[in-house]
Symmetry: C2
Subunit: 588 residues, 2 copies
């Protein structure tokens, strides 16, 4: 194997063209085997193998610094920078994260996992280099999908006026996660068709020098161009045409499906698809499809992540012009939804919890300040064993402290559908729903609550002495805890389902004072800035004791969920320990 | 006066060219007189008078919908849409806000005050129109300065593929608040020089139809072009060249100074400038200038708001390449600072509290996840009588719940300078400092605290029974409250200066339990998600009573500060009332 000889980038320098092509094949095989085993980003990595080899052949990392946008295309880079055993040896498949990580290697400059950041980060590196009067190339590698993100444009705009070396490699595979849309992509398409020669050129208009590489999956051609731009003294774009999923027929032909796959997706590719159980995703798409037939102003929106919300091909085709993929543009997506709502349409915007983080000011100013009655569905929320770049535990503090927003936390199918229907059909409030991120629970009993009466919590079980507020995903934990308390402490606790994240049910909380001593809050997100602290503040001047449970304010990184729960004392027995401490103190 | 006849847009329809030019003069005079009296946006409004007249002459608002970006250029629009008395009658100068406000007029579609939002909002309006099969023009009016903002680009990219009517008017006056920078502005410059005929055209590259108006301060020429694009069936840019401050010599010649002025700035223009007292702004610029001389890697950064942080002409000229105005690009500015810090430079990024809202994800992912040791100075923070679009009371909940960030709240000159110096020179933490937004207090005693020992609160006065935590701007209130408590309740309270917003001093708080019964928190920002709630949560399981004071979770709109304090019980006598309630209960 050629790869046997490659332990760091400098080992690539003297490889012949034939050897680099062989190396590309070897890397590709490793990626296909590993990703099929572990799950992960398949298509992006297969497309970028040759680019990565060529980059490390021509440039001298880490003196020359390469910033990977999103970094879901960094597997070949990891293989070439001393981490190949994480791809060769199945027992080591999990030792490296799927994103760049400076703690793993000096060749990784930043820890990144959100899109559209590479150019700005690179401009910073370049400016620091210039201030220190150092040499070296600063390279940002960004995919066409990430280019639509506002941060990327801000970066490009500033990069263009840098007056020194910065090389931005646009990896153009004609695909975001799903199909690309937007004016920029049309320009990229024309540039591909004209082999970079079209007069109207987005990058040149911004002032960049511009190079085009037609054969972006050929190391030799890439090396040729990289040699030309190496040590260039002004801002430069290298636009390369690559094939997403290159080398794996299934991935080449099903680019969206193979962008990120579950373990064994390739093995299962030719099997009959498993019939899907009812879950929060498909009851949502079914609701939207049904309602959209009756009301032509309902629009389902995704900022380039249709998979997150189950907006699959069939859904999109059925919805036609009532479906909009805005591309990677979370900020626009929120403002767009506000505009739609303001002009009488009924937008439903689906966003993953981790990516709603990109829209604080749009939620505040464009949406809530205007009370635009849009509906935002927040998916995958909660504490998670995910890597540090894709945590989904910050949406509660991010959103619940924005004035005017109604953020709801349903706990079962009937409640969720009722909330969704209320949210879509009302026209007074900007609303968001934290789509439950647990297995679907159905009560079988229609929820008839009028959610326009805000901030009314629901008592699930009447009890005394101890009250447990189990928010959204954690109502089942509240119920289990109540059972355990009853069994071990002989106290029958009250169990409360708050349903409204954004408000306090003062009347109910006030009433609890009569026959309760301890109030426990449980939330599936970080505590800091969240729901429980508000309950503690409410009871601050009173005799009620409050115990808040939730995640810590930290970037956890692939910590097993059970370990996180343990660390945060989110376990029945640990909470009972804490209750006992209070009860014992009271007895003294 | 022509204006006497103009009560709504339709009254403009039959005016002759001569009459519209006269009208423009009348409007200009009103704006100059009023803005000089009340303060406000002078330059942007003087530049846009003719455009506004032409828009309302050609289009039919509100069936045709005009969205003003930032809306600090909406005064002529207000004058023409039934609100002229707010500009004619000095007793009514304050009845309308300086931004568009739907509650004032059906001709204002959105309440906006942050930049770069108009295109996305307009795309939403347009899509809703299409879904409802309605007619009408959707117009976004955006200045060249706002175009660099990422949200604007996301909007443009999506607007370009709309396939129906949307007209984006680019008001190009060659100025942001300060000078423009970035690749896009170079392209605008070339387009102006070639009267729109240059081959490389940013807008055409995105797929827009494109019209150029050389004489953007001539109603007749504008009307000609607007007539052409009215009811156009595809996305269209009208690029108009205007003169910022047009018609007022002082403003034309001093564009930055007259972007937004204090009351009577015009009257005082020819007077000797008042010698500036020492304040937090000038001690900051002095610090930066001094340190930058010693260390060439120090960089002062502003995202197009140098005035907020006193980065004036002299400062910029002295710093040369150690000063960067990134343009309106808050997201980029944070990522840029992270890149600089990661490559060994010492970035100091100055941002107004209201605009830091645009960077949550960049603070979290680009900066703090990477522990990049950049320094962010947050200006103008606190509860405010400002209008709803420029509130500065959300930065604490926004920032303090982000992992890894060290957010500091100094309370006097010596503390502030020590924190600033520590922050700039350390290389372990991403830090932010809430620059005090009160009159400078100097203790005269050098602060020698080692701020690398995180989360150590300072006891300012030892006492018992009651402890008051006065965060940042509110330490003086804590001191006044302590004095009042001592005088009226005969209790000598402990006064604590937390200094660290982002952490809990568990040891100190634990110690307070020994001889304190009530802990009071005071913070100059909204309570929701902020500092005090964490103290309440900490003491939740204990006998300590906690009273949290801060702003409410609401968009206040030009409410006098004293009224806000009253509503939030942020007054010594009201807090003492609350304390008495607890003390009386304890006595029962």
């Amino acid at each position: 194997m050629i790869l046997d000889k490659i332990n760091e980038p400098k080992d690539l320098k003297n490889l012949s063209n034939e050897e680099t092509e062989l190396l590309a094949c070897e890397i590709r095989k490793l990626i296909i085997k590993k990703v099929n085993e572990t799950g992960g980003h398949m298509g992006p990595n297969l497309g970028i193998v040759e680019t990565t080899i060529a980059l490390h052949k021509v440039f001298n990392s880490p003196v020359d610094k390469i910033v990977f946008d999103v970094s879901h295309q960094c597997y070949p880079h990891k293989i070439l920078t001393g981490r190949k055993e994480g791809f060769i040896d199945p027992s080591k498949y999990y030792i490296y994260t799927g994103y760049t990580a400076p703690e793993e290697s000096k060749h990784d400059i930043f820890k990144v996992g959100h899109t559209s950041t590479s150019v700005s980060l690179a401009v910073g590196l370049a400016k620091a280099r210039d201030l220190k009067c150092e040499k070296g190339n600063i390279i940002a590698l960004i995919g066409d999908g990430s280019l639509s993100g506002g941060e990327a444009f801000e970066g490009l705009d500033c990069a263009a006026s840098l007056n020194s070396n910065i090389i931005i490699i646009v990896n153009d595979n004609d695909m975001s996660i799903a199909e690309n849309s937007g004016g920029l992509y049309k320009n990229l398409e024309v540039l591909r068709k004209t082999k970079g020669k079209n007069d109207l050129n987005f990058f040149k208009a911004l002032g960049f020098d511009y190079f085009y590489v037609e054969e972006g999956n050929c190391v030799e051609k890439l090396v040729e161009t990289f040699e030309k731009v190496k040590d260039i003294n002004h801002p430069t774009i290298v636009h390369i045409k690559t094939l997403k999923g290159c080398g794996l027929k299934e991935a080449e032909e099903n680019k969206e499906m193979f962008h990120w796959i579950m373990p064994h997706a390739l093995d299962n590719f030719y099997n009959e698809p498993v019939v899907e159980q009812e879950n929060y995703t498909n009851i949502t798409t079914n609701y939207i499809l049904n309602e959209a037939k009756k009301d032509s102003t309902i629009v389902a929106i995704t900022p380039a992540t249709p998979g997150v919300s189950g907006f699959n091909k069939k859904f999109r085709e059925e919805l036609k012009n009532q479906y909009v993929d805005t591309g990677i543009t979370e900020q626009h997506a929120v403002a767009f939804a506000s505009g739609l709502a303001k002009n009488g349409a009924k937008p439903i915007l689906a966003v993953m919890s981790s990516f709603i983080q990109r829209t604080y000011d749009q939620l505040s100013q464009d949406l809530c300040l205007n009370n635009s009655p849009a509906t935002i569905l927040v998916y995958w929320s909660g504490l998670t064993s995910a890597d540090a770049t894709h945590l989904t535990c910050f949406d509660i503090p991010l959103m619940m402290n924005i004035p005017n927003l109604v953020y709801l936390a349903p706990t079962n199918k009937e409640e969720y559908l009722r909330m969704l229907d209320w949210s879509v059909k009302q026209n007074k409030y900007s609303t968001a729903i934290r789509v439950p991120n647990i297995e679907l629970i159905s009560t079988g009993i229609e929820d008839k609550t009028d959610y326009s009466i805000l901030n009314k919590y629901k008592i699930e079980k009447e009890g005394s002495k101890i009250a447990i507020l189990g928010l959204g995903n954690f109502l089942p934990l509240a119920n289990r805890l109540a059972k355990e308390i009853e069994e071990t402490l002989n106290i029958k606790p009250t169990v409360i389902n708050p349903r409204f994240i954004t408000g306090i049910d003062e009347e109910l909380l006030e009433n609890l004072k009569k026959d309760h001593e301890i109030v426990i809050t449980l939330e599936d997100g970080i505590l800091s800035g969240g729901f429980g602290e508000k309950i503690a503040s409410f009871y601050g001047p009173s005799d009620i004791k409050v115990l808040n449970y939730g995640g810590k304010k930290e970037f956890t990184d692939r910590i097993p969920l059970d370990k996180i729960y343990e660390d945060c004392r989110l376990k029945e027995n640990l909470i009972i320990e804490d209750i006992n401490k209070i009860l014992n103190l009271a007895r003294i």
